[in-house]
Symmetry: C2
Subunit: 359 residues, 2 copies
């Protein structure tokens, strides 16, 4: 029995999108491939409000996160972490001999623009890496305000992990001064996992030109140069199945649902889940910085999360336990991609029934 996914990725994918994954193959060196990949980039530029180039990588979001910090740190990276994925970014830097410092906040809190200002004022750093949306804690960092601080300093590359937020919440890449915004297909975009996406500013390109030892497969500058030269074809064979589905879904988002409607639906879903959580439990994250795509709920009733998920599974639903050390202390409900208001009502009604909570 299929379980409808309310976990923070992979998300539930619409049937018509899944069917596009079964499109017959084309040559990746064909004019058809160029046309397809150019249209995807053009549409992503609209969604991200950017003039930057778009790079597509057949890898998970971690692939482009590693590529970004490795290719664009010449001096030292300041990595601001609010949970598991921020720490992972720091680890990626160290594993590539990239100098980096880790700035952490307690789980559930957000990075403040002041923290970033203080770090940058030392003059030690030439790259700032921040997680936009931390699925382990349900925190959404104030990227716009952080971007303002970063822009006060010269020659800082600002890279943002928006894997679990982009296309579910508005991010104005150019306006907010983001050089590399990274996301991947299995979150708010609403596709299966297997491809990651980033914006790549001219400033990032110029920085990468000064960084030696950028590797091969995840070298963002090499990707950039190749697609310029070869009309949006990639150096290695990309996942064409994801290209077909992504192209279809971007048309749906821009021309059927409408991007503003998509953001509004995400906010409505988030409010519904937060209200439910506050009625029956508590929110884990700082209320000033709640995520629009996933809510982490403090397990104040000491329910058995595993048992709840087992009963939900029998009814055709899946939610997530807490991440890492937050397991059983929290649980998580994702509300992103093409999840409808009715889907969410249905889930919450079923949880209420299982836990004998009032509607």
């Amino acid at each position: 029995m299929h379980k409808k996914l309310f976990i923070p990725g992979p998300v539930e994918v619409r049937k018509d999108v899944l069917e596009k994954m079964a499109t017959p193959m084309i040559g990746h060196r064909s004019a058809d491939a160029s046309f397809l990949q150019r249209r995807i980039s053009d549409n992503l530029r609209k969604i991200f409000y950017t003039q930057s180039e778009i790079l597509l990588s057949t890898s998970s979001g971690s692939g482009l996160m590693e590529g970004a910090i490795r290719c664009c740190t010449a001096k030292k990276a300041a990595v601001f972490s609010v949970g598991a994925f921020g720490k992972r970014w720091y680890e990626m830097a160290l594993n590539n001999n990239v100098k980096a410092d880790l700035f952490e906040v307690p789980m559930g809190e957000a990075v403040t623009p002041e923290m970033v200002d203080k770090a940058l004022s030392t003059g030690e750093y030439d790259l700032v890496a921040v997680t936009h949306n931390e699925t382990s804690t349900g925190v959404m960092n104030p990227i716009k305000e952080i971007g303002k601080v970063v822009s006060k300093y010269d020659d800082i590359i600002f890279i943002v992990d928006a894997v679990s937020s982009a296309v579910g919440t508005k991010i104005e890449v150019d306006e907010w001064g983001i050089d590399i915004l990274i996301t991947s297909t299995q979150k708010a975009i609403g596709l299966p996992p297997g491809m990651s996406i980033c914006t790549f500013s001219n400033k990032a390109k110029e920085r990468a030109e000064k960084v030696p030892n950028r590797g091969f497969y995840l070298d963002l500058l090499a990707l950039y140069k190749y697609i310029q030269k070869k009309d949006y074809q990639y150096p290695s064979t990309p996942s064409l199945s994801h290209m077909f589905a992504l192209d279809y879904q971007l048309d749906y988002i821009l021309n059927k649902e409408g991007i503003e409607n998509r953001y509004a639906r995400h906010i409505e879903l988030a409010k519904m889940v937060r209200a439910w959580a506050k009625k029956h439990f508590e929110l884990f994250a700082d209320e000033k910085h709640l995520s629009n795509t996933v809510t982490a709920i403090k397990n104040t009733r000491a329910i058995e999360v595993g048992a709840l998920n087992k009963e939900l599974a029998a009814r055709g639903f899946a939610i997530s336990n807490g991440y890492g050390t937050l397991k059983d202390k929290t649980f998580r409900i994702a509300h992103m991609a093409d999840c409808t208001i009715e889907d969410m009502k249905d889930l919450l009604k079923n949880i209420n029934e299982i836990l004998k909570l009032e509607d």
Copy 2:
């Protein structure tokens, strides 16, 4: 109009396999994901005649090629190149500050065991990298014989790019002394592009433990450790669509077609194309080292390859022009994956008609 692909990847994919790419999502941290990914690894071990662990990477074959040479070279790599993809491997080493020397043979010729012996006798190298099947020239290197030479020396890691040969031609990984055999989904396995696969021997694992600075996403040792600890789940969200299709196709190969029948069909197809090529043109590669999966044909009639492909496209077929500097001087017909004898007869009949050649 869909063009049936006779290019050396992406290959034509069977409809029933494509449909598996549209399987609804599951959680990548679920017992279902563990079960699926463990079964894939078990079946791949059978196909590769190995006791080694299998690693799956959401990347093209280039991703694992880079990971292998970076993670397993402690001293210096000897890269034996017979064309474009051998050179790419050398470039990958340099881009990661991995010491390497490039040994080249003229285009169309194979690497000899003697060349490898001579290089290793210097004592300079601790890793040998060889392309098994070079799609740019249609050469298949004598990996078994090269493996024998490598095994004479202590502590050499033997890594093989079998991207365009594995599962289309028999490779006995353990018997031939291969530490890391790399392939990807869009070639003889018969899936869409988007996932790569390698075997990973204990010896390779022990070597990687001594190599610092292995990166993150393409760190083979990290993948190995994670799947051991987490029951075949991967550190980053993998392309589940490819997992579903790969699982289905491995069952087809092992239990429906039969692996030996698959190899026999590839040989029959190769013989058919070679006979046709010799009747009307000439073979490009050394006849002692012809590929079982792709044939490069010397354009002795000075046909316009682009024009031929255009006419073929109108009839629903696609073949490949020569690669890089071999463009127009050669053209290539791939005969791999689930291409049938009838498919190939049909293609050659259509080429004969277009070029006014006798059948």
